[in-house]
Every structure is written in C-alpha cells, then in structure tokens.
Symmetry: C2
C-alpha cells in the first residue's frame, strides 16, 4: 500500500496511526501541501478533492477521506480492530472520531485559515481566536461525551474504559491524538480536560503513536 | 427508536432519509435550534456536543453524530443496506459521505455562520460568499470524484452507476441530498454539476427522500 501524506496533516496523521496500530507496512509518499503539490495534476487527477491523505491499494485503487480509509483498513485487515465488536460500541467510537473529524478539524485546517486571512481579511489575533474557539469548544464537548460514556458503562456493568471506550485505542484515538497535537501547536488552553488528556498521554507512550508522529515522518521539517 | 431532530438541520435530514430508506418507524422529537433547545439540560445532559440529531435506542442508549447513527442503523437492520457489500465500494461510498460531512457542512452550519457575523463582524455579503465558496468548491470536488469513480467502474468492467456508486441510494445520497437542498436555500450556483444533480433529482423523486424532506417534518415552519 502507498500512503500519500503530509507530515503535518492531521488527517494523514490519523491514518498513519491506524496503519501502525494494525502493523501494516506501507510506502510513505509525501505531498507537500504548503508548496501546493496536492493541486498538481500528478496528485489531483486521482483524488476528487485533492486533499491528503489518500491510500493507493496494491491493486491500484485510490481511497480518500481518512475515516473511510481507516474503516477500509479495519475491514480488510483483522489485526488490532479499530472499532469494538458490538454495534453500540462501534457507534460510540465512530461518534467520537466524528466529533473531531466533523466538528473541530474542518474549521481549523490550513485552507480555512487561509480563507479567513486572504478573503475575509481577519487579523492574526482573530484567526488565532477562531482556531482556539473551535478547538477548545470541540474538545470540551469530547470531554463531556467521555463522561457520558463512562457513566453508561458503569450503569451497564461494563469495566471502566482505559482509553476512550474500552481497553484498546482505536478510531477515536486516531482522530483525537492528532487534534490535540494540533491544538498544542497553536497554544490552545487544554486545562480542565483530564479524562481526554489522560487518553492522549497513554497513547503517546505507545510505539504505534510515536512512529506516526509528524516529527517521525520522512518529510518532517 | 426516537430521533431528536430539527426540520432544517442538514445532519438530521441525513438520518431521516436513512430511516425512511430502511423502512424503520421512529418517534420524531423536535429540538428547536433557533430557540436554543439543544443547549437546555433536558437535551444537552445526554449529548456531549449538544448537536442534533441524536438517536435514542429502544433500550435507552443515546447515539450521536449522523454518520455514526447511519452506520449503526445499517449494522442493526439489514433492510436496504446503506453501504455496498464489498470493502472497496464501502470505502468509496463512505468517502463521498465524508466529502459532504467533513468538508462542506461543518463550514456552513448555523453556529459557524453566527460566529462569522457576531465575533468576526463580517458583512452579510462576506458571509454569503463564505457559504457559497465552501458549498460550491465542495460540490465541484464531489462531481470530480464521481467522474473518477465512474471511470474506475468502467475500467473494472462494472455496470455504470445509477446513483453515486451502484444502483441504489445509500449513505452518500443521505449526505448529498440535504447538502444540495441547503445550497439551493442559500442560492448557490449549481450549474456545471450534471452527474451529481442527476443523482439528487433521482433521489428527490423517491418517497423515502420526500418523507424525510424538511418541508414534510412536523416542526416545519
């Protein structure tokens, strides 16, 4: 498999973690977003939205969108499932992943920040405020959701979660850890999010997460 | 099942279509977003991000995030699958759904437009331009992706798609149709998107899509 990726892309980072957790070897193909390589025909002719990451399968299919790629990896490779075995647990984990991928990240990625500055002419301070607002409010919502899920497990007689839901990291952590890394890079206040930050710290101590980290990427600068 | 929904919420509309396609009866519980009912404790104490829709299962579990809810419905009810049977087709359909749910809708929902106006003090014209930019560029990307997928089917000897991928509507159409409805409400130019618009028109001729339409909702105004 070939992963078209950029070291600092949060969505690419998610898939790198998933590949590492599942122990799947892959070829790392850097696409330099800041230089606009994703918009060049060599890449954009294969990917409708010209975003990273994309996964090129061994039989030549191009797969796009990080969560769809992770689902594909999970369906085609049994090792280290990224989703629980039961439908209820799967719904909860997917929802956590989507709280990051649909509510936080889309508002804070590079092209949106560029639009704010170049089209809406907002100040640097307002741009930073925008980033912090969506990151902070989204992570607070994530923390509340973890509390609700912890209470649900307790009420249902399930053991307390070690990670977001259950005792192994999966799709929720693949999304959460890159988002927190990003928030830290933008100096967002992460106080008062103890449950979530404990999960992130536990993940970051694991080799799979360390190997997928932007600083460990061949194209890291 | 109980669906907490708002007639005009695009994410709620997705799940209403999914429920109708699968022929599942449900109780319609309106949450009036403009009046702020989603933030009141009666709702927000069950849903970490206080967004709609949420699905309350018959055994009392609250499920959040529209795509996670649709996956849950698909895993627990076999009638009218929302995803293809094969991993590759599933990856393509999920990616199309996510092109709407992760790249267009998050930028254009009510709370984001409110932030633009109240916090960033952008003009009405700039707000409309923002909406049109993300809707139009996202739908153009969707159109390009459909062309790539059509070419992939042709190369692989598969019959041409009648809908986005294959011959039945599923999760991709559940996301696409509400997004186009929204774009039309904001008077976004939809010229030059023939493949996508043909799918939308085909869907809108089906009773399942008509019953889920905002104008057919009990709380429609």
């Amino acid at each position: 498999m070939k992963l078209h990726t950029y070291f600092r892309s949060s969505a690419s980072y998610r898939v790198r973690i998933a590949l590492q957790l599942k122990g799947l070897p892959y070829e790392y193909l850097p696409v330099h977003l800041v230089r606009g390589e994703h918009k060049a025909p060599a890449y954009a002719s294969h990917v409708g939205d010209a975003l990273v990451p994309s996964l090129e399968t061994d039989d030549g299919h191009w797969l796009t969108q990080s969560m769809a790629i992770m689902e594909y990896l999970d369906e085609t490779h049994a090792a280290h499932p990224l989703l629980p075995a039961d439908a209820l647990g799967r719904a909860h984990v997917r929802a956590l992943a989507q709280m990051v991928a649909c509510e936080i990240h889309p508002l804070n990625n590079l092209r949106v920040l560029k639009y704010l500055v170049h089209e809406l002419k907002v100040s640097d301070e307002a741009k930073t405020g925008w980033y912090a607002h969506w990151a902070r409010s989204g992570l607070e919502a994530f923390e509340r959701q973890l509390a609700l899920l912890d209470a649900e497990r307790k009420a249902g007689g399930l053991p307390p979660s070690v990670f977001c839901w259950g005792d192994v990291p999966g799709m929720a952590e693949c999304c959460l850890v890159p988002q927190v890394f990003n928030a830290q890079r933008f100096a967002v206040n992460l106080d008062g999010l103890p449950r979530l930050m404990e999960v992130v710290e536990r993940c970051n101590a694991m080799p799979a997460f360390q190997s997928a980290h932007p600083s460990a990427c061949p194209d890291a600068q």
